[in-house]
């Protein structure tokens, strides 16, 4: 349902706005031809891309592609893009879905790796801060956390590149994307800076959330009960305190991860990682509707999926939710 709304909105923005601005089908098509193409070429392109059809028909074609697939003439022959087919780029003419799927491992590696880092660091910092409220560590880490949430990634990203790669030479060239399956070491080396930079941004929020949650949880009655049983303090904190604190953290995590899988736009651009976010940026700057549609749908799907998983995990974590 949401996917439909999203796709219709994207479509409408793409076609109706230029139309309102007075652009003809040919004007629209002139975005997708070589520089200085003549009128005939532009006109042919408009026909090829179907811009002369009513918007509703074009949308219908898009939906049909998703359910039935699309046949495309690539020159020497016709190929079938099987359902679910998100069409072909107006600009590069590459099929959209394989391109996105192809980039998925990159965004996935980046997002999941960063998530591991930020959850561990964020939560650990939050716990320690909460247990040592008011201490030097607490104040220092909360100060850093504030910096983390407020510094833009293209700044932290470029600075960390300059320091760790160019200055200290601690990591290699981030731009050489290598899949995990090919060379795990290089893979990690390439991703460590994006992970850390991205994690810095997110860990801050998690530290603050965890700290607040821990402060609240540790004053709960059941913590007192756990202590009264003679449980060691470490177990009290981790097993009883943290467990309850993690519920809101989990919610936030699901939403963050869902958004991130739809493309960490700034991080990917900053580190030249050819992931989904970079794809989205390029698609938008090229006015490449099929790519924009594809990436929006995939991103929306990720958000929906993440929400679903969070809801399911919620039930696993909090038995009180299971009843409902």
């Amino acid at each position: 349902m949401l996917l439909f709304v999203v796709s219709i909105a994207t479509f409408a923005i793409f076609f109706l706005v230029p139309r309102l601005a007075g652009m003809s089908a040919d004007d629209l098509a002139s975005r997708y031809v070589g520089k200085a193409a003549n009128a005939q070429v532009i006109h042919d392109t408009a026909i090829r891309l179907g811009f002369n059809d009513p918007v509703i028909v074009q949308y219908g074609r898009f939906v049909k592609g998703i359910f039935v697939g699309v046949d495309r003439n690539y020159g020497p022959g016709v190929e079938h893009c099987p359902a679910p087919c998100l069409g072909y780029s107006y600009v590069s003419q590459n099929p959209v879905l394989p391109d996105i799927l192809n980039r998925l491992p990159i965004t996935l590696s980046m997002a999941l790796g960063a998530a591991v880092v930020w959850v561990i660091f964020g939560v650990a910092t939050g716990v320690v801060s909460a247990l040592r409220r008011g201490s030097f560590f607490d104040r220092l880490s909360m100060g850093i956390a504030l910096a983390g949430v407020s510094l833009p990634i293209f700044f932290t990203g470029i600075v960390s590149l300059a320091i760790f790669r160019d200055q200290l030479g601690l990591v290699g060239d981030v731009a050489d994307w290598v899949p995990f399956s090919e060379d795990p070491l290089t893979w990690a080396n390439n991703l460590i800076l994006p992970w850390v930079t991205l994690a810095f941004l997110y860990a801050a929020g998690y530290a603050r959330l965890t700290r607040a949650g821990m402060l609240e949880t540790m004053s709960e009655d059941y913590i007192r009960t756990a202590r009264a049983k003679g449980l060691a303090e470490r177990a009290v904190v981790l097993k009883h305190g943290l467990r309850a604190t993690l519920t809101p953290v989990l919610t936030m995590f699901g939403l963050d991860l869902g958004l991130l899988l739809g493309g960490a736009v700034l991080t990917e651009s900053t580190f030249s990682l050819p992931g989904i976010g970079k794809y989205a940026v390029d698609a938008i700057s090229n006015n490449d509707l099929p790519q924009v549609m594809g990436v929006t749908l995939i991103a929306a799907a990720f958000i929906i999926l993440a929400n679903l998983i969070v809801d399911m995990l919620y039930a696993v974590v909090d038995p009180r939710v299971r009843l409902a």
Partner: protein, 342 residues
């Protein structure tokens, strides 16, 4: 031979931003195995802090603790945190007031009992689970084998309290402290729980401390009674002492405000006017004097000089400037008749 539990002049003070909170400020009592002590007093009088203090749960959390706590010949105020932790749950255990909030919502009742058991007993999970089921059965939970896997929120209030008791008893503690164990329950269930506790105490021969502001509960169970006011023990004695020969004006007030079956619950015979004292700016002299109807009888002393906890006779301790004879006369002539009017 010294008593099983002997608390002497226990003080627990919390430094806070507003000042030093003297939650417990001179509590003295003793308790033998197989006996029951009732601690009564208004809300905020320091009952819970006292009991948590005995369990050593204020240790290392910034509280100033002084006095002595002797448990089975061992002094606990000066003992290390780790040592006291080892005693907690095994030698002494506690039942809390609101079992819904006192049990972890994310773990099954069984898991929580198993955890308590396994802290002090090196046994496998399976063995511990058997034990947990056994304990649940002993506290009267039907189908314990099935309920052991339920979560606290799936239990009724009474069942939860039973589970809580099962958890506290899982390691056969020699000292059991029940902090308002029945406040959250309705009357019939209250009675069941109290019966259960009495039975179990007999069975385990443990020392039991019951904390409550309900004198009725105390009357039913206790051998001895400790009355607290503003962090201090103001009267201590046998149940008979407190119910039939009370000597402190505050205790009279408590007895007077006890609901009785033959009266409207709202009717209070001897209402205690005013509000409990601040624990930070404790009134000088007798802490009770702003509310005491007999304050002027002891003249300026009530306002300037703190009365000491003194023995009247046979272990009956009272903290009041009035002479014992005067107090007894007042009780016999003025108070008892009012309380006994049908």
């Amino acid at each position: 031979m010294s008593p099983f539990l002997d608390v002497k002049d226990l003080k627990i003070h919390f430094p806070t931003d507003d000042g030093l909170v003297k939650s417990v400020d001179g509590v003295t009592f003793s308790l033998e195995r197989g006996k029951t002590l009732g601690i009564v007093g208004e809300s905020g009088s320091g009952k819970s802090v006292t009991s948590l203090g005995i369990l050593g749960l204020h240790k290392g959390r910034g509280a100033n603790i002084s006095g002595e706590i002797w448990l089975d010949g061992e002094e606990l105020v000066g003992a290390s945190q780790e040592h006291v932790r080892g005693l907690r749950g095994k030698k002494m255990a506690m039942i809390f007031q609101d079992p819904l909030s006192a049990m972890h919502p994310f773990y099954t009742v069984g898991d929580q009992i198993i955890e308590a058991y396994r802290i002090h007993n090196k046994v496998s999970k399976a063995v511990a689970k058997k034990h947990a089921i056994d304990m649940l059965g002993r506290v009267g939970i039907p189908e314990p084998g099935r309920r052991v896997d339920s979560y606290p929120h799936e239990f009724s209030g009474g069942m939860r309290q039973r589970a809580m008791i099962a958890m506290a008893l899982s390691c056969d503690p020699e000292l059991l402290i029940a902090d308002e164990p029945t406040t959250a329950l309705d009357v019939t269930v209250q009675a069941q729980i109290l019966d259960l506790m009495r039975d179990l105490q007999r069975e385990f021969d443990s020392a039991l401390i019951i904390i409550t502001h309900d004198l009725g509960v105390v009357a039913e169970l206790s051998d001895d009674i400790l009355v607290m006011y503003g962090g201090k023990c103001i009267e201590f004695g046998s149940a008979d002492d407190i119910f039939y020969r009370p000597e402190h004006p505050y205790t009279w007030g408590l007895l007077g405000s006890m609901p009785r079956l033959d009266r409207e619950p709202t009717e209070r015979l001897l209402p205690i006017k005013g509000s409990p004292p601040s624990l930070i700016n404790v009134p000088p002299g007798c802490a009770f004097h702003p509310r005491c109807p007999y304050a002027e009888r002891t003249g300026d002393k009530a306002r300037t000089e703190a009365p000491a906890l003194a023995e009247t006779e046979g272990g009956h301790l009272v903290r009041c400037h009035m002479a014992p004879a005067e107090r007894r006369a007042l009780w016999e002539n003025e108070i008892k008749p009012v309380l006994e009017t049908p």
